[in-house]
């Protein structure tokens, strides 16, 4: 057995955690699958919060002249709703998929930097908690009345400058109190988490692919992940600079966005949307990747035009950086700029159109199985087309002037982000449920969820188009009786509650099936990609034997050949092959060593909010000490980490085989 003394005596501050189970097993894990699962649950928790905020918004708007929320409460709700949905739900839940699936799909045992992966998760968690703590500690100024005012006056309130944080609104002059500091520092922390994981994924994809997995043999989902990682890599630094600028404006006295001193508020918009437009592809490309895996599996056909889908994805990524000013047509940019950005925006519809064409081509003539994942993927394609079309109408500058800041825009981006991204992500959640849990979900509840969602969704966001065209203004908490907008608004609110019902059905299905669903075979969908060659749930070491790939859809080709008409014909040896996968996967022929758990990633995360609070309250007695304590925690953790080897002999679950040859990463095997 391992000798504790030789481990702790050597050079770490803490005794190294050596258990992969229980509470501390989760806190200290460096296993990409566990981290993926934690990402998923945390993001879903934020989805619930963001959803509740949306419901509060909709209750307020359900009738004309309503006084359910005050103006400032409404501002806080839509700001935190948008911020939460984007930064705390869609991005992290995509990261959950990346984490869990990327190594499996490229045939690797782990990501390139396992502990870095844990770091990005913990920074995300603590960044999110920090942002939400503004509801408890933040201040906006004197309360104004309304149902939450009593609570708000005691507890402060949430950030209220919009998820786009437009200066000078978000500056000190118009946003006194601390809530916008919470917002800007919180987003900075969350951005750091995404930056770290994007570096990790890029290195993983370029260095860790299984033998034979050439770039153009990677599943589309892996490709879209890679594009997203590059988008993050190049767009996050820009928003980081912008957030630093607004934070400094508010706390240090810089003048970047203060027009009364020569500052330039439009600059905020340029920086913000230079990040913000690529961001919408960051949100939707993972879902496109998922759909590109689901449609072929349930149509029992290869993806139509694989290279076109890949290159279109990359093109969308590149072009995403050249269209940002279409968010600023109404901000006083020059006509030439407007024309240029209008055109470039229309051009980006081309690669998007290619993708849609390829998805339809995939379904066309396939033997379609309408399981829940397939329903959600089809829902994605349909809703995304509607959202895309209303998007094209914004690229026409005069039309945009009419539509901007009305509910037409709100309808548009919800069709893209909810009808698109969220439908795609739910499709993925159902599709990979068996792999995650080892059980099957209830198909009945799944389909019910889809239809409730589908009806609720269209009831909510469809009427918003005409509400907007009839002049209902966005980001306003109240409208007058005489506008006649009341009835449709009531419909919209009812739709929102139907959506909430759908989420409830999903949660019931998930928690029930996870425990009681029928045991899942390891390839329940007769799928095409590598993760389905593994037992369900996936064992800790992923692949018992490192796979070797010879073609795109390698797994499929091992199961099927083609007849003269190109129809798939099951190979006679397929059944034996599958049995062997299962057998070997459960009993690896030799012991496999995995990265050890570590406390440091968690501690790095803990340090983040300390620094944040320290910065916000630097004018009080405990601000600076807290700042220093946080910085010491972070730097100290990294130093502790630097001297802690990734793997230590005998400290893993194979400790009963002490003689196994084992390379320590820094050559200090004992």
């Amino acid at each position: 057995m391992a000798t504790t003394a030789s481990r702790s005596g050597a050079r770490t501050i803490f005794r190294r955690p050596d258990s992969n189970t229980g509470f501390w097993g989760w806190i200290t894990t460096a296993d990409h699958k566990k981290i993926g699962i934690m990402y998923g649950y945390t993001a879903f928790t934020f989805f619930i919060l963001g959803g509740l905020e949306a419901l509060l918004l909709r209750i307020q708007l359900s009738q004309p002249d309503n006084v359910f929320l005050s103006a400032s409460e409404y501002n806080a709700m839509f700001t935190m709703h948008g911020t939460t949905m984007i930064f705390l739900f869609v991005m992290p839940v995509s990261a959950a998929f990346f984490n869990y699936l990327l190594p499996l799909m490229i045939g690797a045992r782990d990501v390139a930097f396992p502990r870095m992966n844990a770091v990005s998760y913990w920074i995300f968690v603590f960044g999110g908690i920090f942002l939400y703590s503004s509801f408890v500690f933040g201040t906006t100024g004197p309360p104004e009345g309304g149902n939450l005012a009593e609570v708000a006056s005691r507890l402060g309130s949430g950030p209220n400058g919009g998820w786009f944080g437009y200066a000078p609104n978000s500056g000190l002059r118009f946003s006194t109190g601390t809530v916008m500091d919470y917002w800007s520092i919180g987003l900075q922390i969350l951005g750091l988490a995404s930056l770290i994981s994007s570096i990790n994924f890029i290195v993983t994809v370029f260095n860790m692919r299984a033998k034979g997995m050439k770039l153009l043999r990677m599943p589309v989902f892996v490709w879209m992940t890679t594009v997203v990682a590059f988008l993050l890599l190049f767009s996050l630094p820009i928003i980081a600079v912008a957030l630093f600028m607004i934070t400094f404006d508010r706390n240090v006295g810089t003048l970047f966005f203060d027009p009364s001193m020569g500052g330039d508020p439009i600059l905020w918009q340029h920086f913000f949307w230079l990040f913000g437009h690529p961001e919408v592809y960051i949100l939707v490309l993972p879902a496109m990747g998922i759909v590109s895996e689901v449609l072929p599996t349930f149509s029992r056909k290869p993806l139509f035009g694989y290279p076109a889908v890949v290159f279109a994805g990359a093109a969308i990524g590149f072009m995403g950086f050249g269209v940002w000013a279409h968010h600023m047509f109404a901000s006083g940019v020059t006509p030439i700029t407007q024309a240029a950005f209008g055109l470039s925006t229309m051009a980006i519809a081309i690669p998007t159109g290619i993708k849609i064409f390829n998805w339809i081509g995939t379904i066309w003539g396939g033997k379609i199985k309408l399981n829940t994942p397939m329903l959600f993927s089809l829902g994605f394609v349909g809703m995304f087309v509607i959202g895309g079309l209303s998007g094209v109408t914004h690229s026409i500058v005069p039309a945009d002037w009419q539509q901007t800041d009305t509910y037409y825009i709100v309808a548009h981006f919800h069709y893209v982000l909810f009808g698109g991204a969220i439908f795609g992500l739910f499709s993925g959640l159902y599709y990979w449920f068996p792999k995650l849990t080892g059980r099957m979900y209830s198909e009945t509840l799944g389909k019910l969820h889809f239809w409730v969602f589908f009806v609720g969704f269209n009831l909510t966001f469809g009427p918003m188009h005409w509400l907007g065209l009839n002049g209902m203004v966005r980001r306003t908490w109240v409208y007058a009786e005489e506008t006649g907008l009341g009835p449709w608004n009531m419909v919209v609110t009812i739709g929102a509650f139907i959506i909430a019902l759908g989420v409830l059905i999903f949660m019931i299905n998930w928690t029930w099936s996870k425990r009681n669903g029928p045991i899942a075979p390891f390839d329940p969908w007769d799928a095409r990609t590598l993760e389905w060659t593994l037992p369900s749930p996936t064992p800790e070491y992923n692949f018992a034997v490192n796979p070797v790939i010879t073609s795109l859809d390698d797994f499929w080709h091992k199961k099927y050949s083609e007849d003269a008409d190109g129809r798939p014909v099951r190979r006679p040896e397929a059944t034996a092959l599958l049995a062997e996968y299962e057998e070997v996967g459960l009993n690896p022929p030799e012991p496999i060593h995995l990265p050890n758990p570590s406390y440091y990633p968690f501690l790095v995360g803990v340090g983040m909010p300390m620094v944040g609070y320290g910065l916000i309250y630097d004018n009080t007695a405990w601000g600076i000490p807290l700042l220093i304590l946080g910085a010491v925690t972070i730097v100290g953790s990294f130093i502790g980490w630097g001297v802690e080897p990734l793997e230590e002999p005998h400290a893993d679950h194979h400790s009963d085989e002490p003689d196994h040859e084992h390379p320590g990463t820094d050559g200090e095997d004992s």
Binding site: A112, F113, I199, I202, N207, M208, I238, G667
Partner: protein, 208 residues
Amino acid sequence: MSDVAHADGHHDVHEGTGIDNRKLGMWVFLSSEFMFFGALISNYMLFKGRDYSAFMPTGQSVLLPRGLYDIPFTSVSSFVLLMSSLTMVLAHDALVSGDQNRTRVWLAATGMLGSVFIGGQVFEFTEFVQQGMTISSNPAASAFFMLTGFHGAHVFFGILMLLSLYGISKRQGGLTEVQGLNVELVGLYWHFVDIIWIVIFTIVYLIP
């Protein structure tokens, strides 16, 4: 920095770039830093040429960074920083030839040169503030302090990393071959920070 998946490294076969994970990771990270400084530099360029006289209280003149530079002074401190890239290369060289002592000396020298550069920057900043140009004087001054300040912070982190390398080199086993890669990584970062400084120096100080 030993955060690399080597699970069963001795019989894993990969289709990869052939570049070590950590090195590739550093390259990827630096490409992102490139965007970061790109945004800071364009921010400065945007603000430096504007006329702020309309926003000043009557009777006060606008103090702009370019009115206050002491170019010979900054040239010297830039030269010091450039030299530190050289000593960094020498440190790596020494490591490759297996000379731990010499490695340590050159690492220390690099850190010293970096500190001299930061010292110069601190002196320059206090000088500017004494002459009346603070971070709140006008947006051009804000942008100047932000850009050069972030660069200084990067140099500072580089010095911290050099110190850790120095510490590691004192430990039993010292800078082994694998740790040698760490010297290379810190070197990459250090050269990047240097190159960025040359760009900043040219754009901010030399181009009128």
